[in-house]
């Protein structure tokens, strides 16, 4: 569904909220923080797989949002802006940690498959109550671009067009990336398909 940015009520509401923040309205800032902190932290933690680093990135993201408030333009939801900054900061952290993350890294991952030995992992014997851990493990094994796509759309509930803004992609490229990411996730989870289906 195509949304006109100018007439998107959530964008307008966010712009009003940011105008209050720019005036130093602590209540508006608290409202925004309460609404968005958890999502930003989730994204950072899933991308970095490190709680303290994720908290640092979250704090930096909100510091930037605070500085951005006086210059805020009615172009996007605050959530989209926050997730974009979070992704960028996380990628910077990952580059410093592992060397540069490139599309080549991502492309190499395309041909990877679940090693047979992984299928014998104790995870295979977990009950339904541990399905979340299966999903956590599968998400953690996704390449960072795939993981980001799945997190933004399927976990954090962004529209594909918004996720495309976050990841600096066109809508079609984003939809394609999302489809590939989900396919890869299904492949990773295939050995535990019955556990996930509760069979």
């Amino acid at each position: 569904m195509v949304h006109s940015k100018q007439h998107d009520p959530s964008i307008q509401a966010d712009a009003q909220l940011m105008a209050r923040v720019a005036m130093g309205d602590a209540a508006a800032w608290k409202l925004l923080a309460d609404r968005e902190l958890s999502g930003v932290l989730l994204l950072a933690k899933r991308l970095l797989d490190h709680h303290q680093e994720a908290e640092d990135v979250t704090q930096e993201t909100f510091t930037r949002l605070w500085r951005q408030a006086p210059h805020w333009r009615e172009e996007a939801r605050v959530r989209t802006w926050l997730y974009r900054v979070t992704c960028n900061l996380c990628l910077d952290h990952l580059r410093h940690r592992h060397g540069r993350i490139t599309e080549e890294t991502f492309a190499e991952g395309e041909e990877e498959a679940v090693p047979a030995s992984d299928r014998e992992s104790p995870l295979a014997h977990l009950e339904r109550k541990e399905q979340r851990h299966l999903l956590d493990a599968a998400l953690a094994h996704l390449p960072v671009h795939h993981r980001t796509a799945v997190l933004l759309v399927n976990v954090l509930g962004l529209r594909v067009a918004e996720a495309a803004q976050v990841m600096h992609l066109g809508d079609e490229a984003m939809a394609s990336l999302l489809a590939r990411s989900r396919q890869r996730l299904r492949l990773l989870l295939l050995p535990w398909r019955n556990e996930l289906l509760g069979a």
Binding site: W29, S38, T58, Q59, F62, A116, N154, R193
Partner: protein, 106 residues
């Protein structure tokens, strides 16, 4: 060792369950420290505004001191008001004011 490459799963039920499980993943709870640090951004800024506009702050402090001095002067003037020794200046007083006290030669 040849990696095992499973066939892509196209089962719509699996897809549906996967969507549901992903949507059910719980959000992260920020630590008290993180939440406090984020909220402090607004408090620090409000504090700065208060510091500037507070009557005893840097912006108002000189004006406040001047106003206090003026009020003090008015109060003192009212309390100890004295009538001048003469209603009109006379010439010698004007000369004394301009040239200082004249000492007569012995």
């Amino acid at each position: 060792m040849t990696p095992h490459i499973p066939e892509p799963d196209t089962d719509p039920r699996f897809e549906q369950v996967l969507n549901q499980r992903l949507a059910e993943l719980p959000l992260e709870t920020p630590s008290h420290r993180l939440r406090a640090n984020v909220l402090a951004l607004a408090e620090q800024s409000t504090g700065e505004v208060h510091r500037w506009w507070w009557p005893f702050g840097p912006l108002w402090r000189p004006a406040f001191v001047l106003a206090c001095s003026a009020l003090l002067g008015l109060g003192l003037g009212t309390t100890w008001s004295q009538t001048p020794p003469a209603q009109e200046f006379i010439g010698s007083e004007t000369i004394t004011l301009i040239f200082g006290p004249m000492e007569e030669a012995p």
